[in-house]
């Protein structure tokens, strides 16, 4: 399938997912996660955007899809009531919520068209009345606001502003798109795997531990695993993930 899409054409990763679900005529409550993930990855791998903000949101969803995909391959987890948990449940809920507001926005659009037919009149208050300027009682307005309170407010505003600065995102400007391209990262990982034969997933990330690199590396490893270049072993949950290079491509 050849897809040429501008990512900016979608309002976000959920919009893109809904588009894929509708295009494939899929039941939202039974999403074929493997196929949808494949189509989703294909689209984002072709994306032309250089906007890191847009790209990171789409990559985050890619990671979520891959996580669901990997969970689907494992025996189903059982919740407290002893029912099997569907790894897709949370995503379905988000998609439905998003779709609800999308639907509501169409209704609003219709309302707006009707409401635009009502016309209003500028105020025509006689000058001598308009000139009446009501004195605002500043003492009453300020009430119990003291300088100390004002200072506190300013402090908390400035603290919030510092909180907002994400040291990773704030450095995005310096990252070239090429540095996190998936194919290149895959080539690097494959080369690294050929050299080291068996290595720890954590090791691979130590040198380049920014968020985007973690996501792309993870995607790269999953892709290489899919085409049979790598094998991945994790003994227990939360254990280190061991990656082994497969000399001969295996069937996935």
């Amino acid at each position: 399938m050849s897809i040429s899409v501008k990512l900016e054409a979608f309002d976000g990763p959920l919009d893109l997912l809904l588009h894929l679900i509708e295009k494939n005529k899929i039941d939202i409550f039974d999403i074929p996660i493997v196929e949808i993930t494949r189509q989703y990855m294909e689209i984002i791998s072709q994306m032309e955007t250089k906007d890191m903000d847009i790209m990171s949101d789409f990559l985050l969803m890619a990671a979520t899809l891959l996580r669901i995909k990997s969970k689907m391959l494992l025996p189903a987890e059982v919740n407290e009531e002893g029912e099997e948990e569907d790894p897709r449940a949370e995503l379905v809920e988000r998609l439905l919520e998003y779709k609800t507001y999308k639907y509501a926005s169409y209704e609003l659009k219709d309302l707006q068209v009707d409401a635009a037919r009502l016309l209003y009149k500028e105020p025509t208050i006689p000058d001598e009345i308009a000139d009446y300027h009501e004195e605002v009682d500043i003492a009453e307005l300020l009430g119990d606001v003291t300088l100390a309170k004002l200072q506190n407010i300013f402090r908390s505003v400035m603290k919030k502003q510092i909180d907002k600065i994400d040291p990773i995102r704030s450095k995005f400007g310096r990252i070239e798109k090429e540095q996190i391209s998936l194919p290149e990262r895959m080539a690097y990982i494959e080369e690294y795997a050929r050299e080291h034969h068996r290595f720890n997933f954590r090791r691979l990330l130590e040198e380049q531990a920014d968020k985007m690199m973690v996501i792309v590396s993870f995607l790269g490893i999953l892709e290489l695993m899919k085409v049979g270049r790598l094998k991945i072993v994790q003994e227990n949950i939360f254990d280190d993930i061991w990656v082994t290079y497969a000399e001969q491509p295996q069937t996935a």
Binding site: F29, P32, E35, I54, Y103, S105, L108, D114, K121, K160
Partner: protein
């Protein structure tokens, strides 16, 4: 004051002000209590509904404003300069509908529902005066809460937030049924 005089006063005030006037200010100016004032206005609204009238009074969250009837639009645009409305893109409409239904809501919650950064659409909606700040959430970081404005009600012809179109759960259910009826691709794992 006689009822007819009261109607005249309210008509004159709404005409002069042009914008929405809160009930308490109308009542104070007319020297009446709010209940009486509201009853009079409702009565006037019925009269304006008559076919020989081109104007009407609408209610916006407890305030009242005079405007033309929708059926007058074609005749008026022939002669009057009609101010251009901001064109809302799908992104803006989508963000606005989330704020309208979930208000007061933080930017983070909006972003969670949309799955994308939403600074730009939220700022645009604030700029268009469709959305305003409504205090801060009492939570770590004290994030800004956003809510819709009177201009939002006016722009969408809604009397109060309770009159927002009901997002019909059945409609959503329909989406589900449609999807089920359609042929499933052989894609399942």
């Amino acid at each position: 004051m006689k009822l007819s005089e009261l109607e005249a006063v309210i008509e004159a005030i709404l005409f002069t002000m042009g914008e929405a006037v809160e009930l308490d200010r109308l009542a104070a100016a007319a020297g009446q209590d709010e209940d009486t004032c509201r009853r009079v206005i409702r009565n006037m609204m019925d009269k304006y509904a008559g076919e020989d009238r081109g104007i009407q009074v609408i209610e916006l969250d407890g305030a009242f404003q005079m405007c033309t009837k929708p059926s007058m639009y074609e005749s008026i645009v022939k002669i009057a300069h009609v101010p251009k409305k901001h064109v809302l893109t799908d992104v803006l409409l989508e963000t606005l509908s989330i704020i309208a239904y979930k208000q007061p809501i933080t930017k983070l919650e909006i972003e969670h529902i949309r799955g994308v950064k939403s600074d730009h659409p939220v700022n645009k909606l604030v700029e268009y005066n469709l959305v305003c700040e409504a205090g801060r959430l009492d939570a770590p970081g004290r994030p800004i809460l956003f809510a819709t404005t009177e201009e939002f009600l006016r722009s969408f012809g809604i009397e109060s937030l309770e009159d927002l179109p009901v997002i019909n759960p059945e409609k959503i259910e329909d989406f589900k049924l449609e999807a089920e009826e359609e042929v499933q691709l052989e894609l399942d794992i």
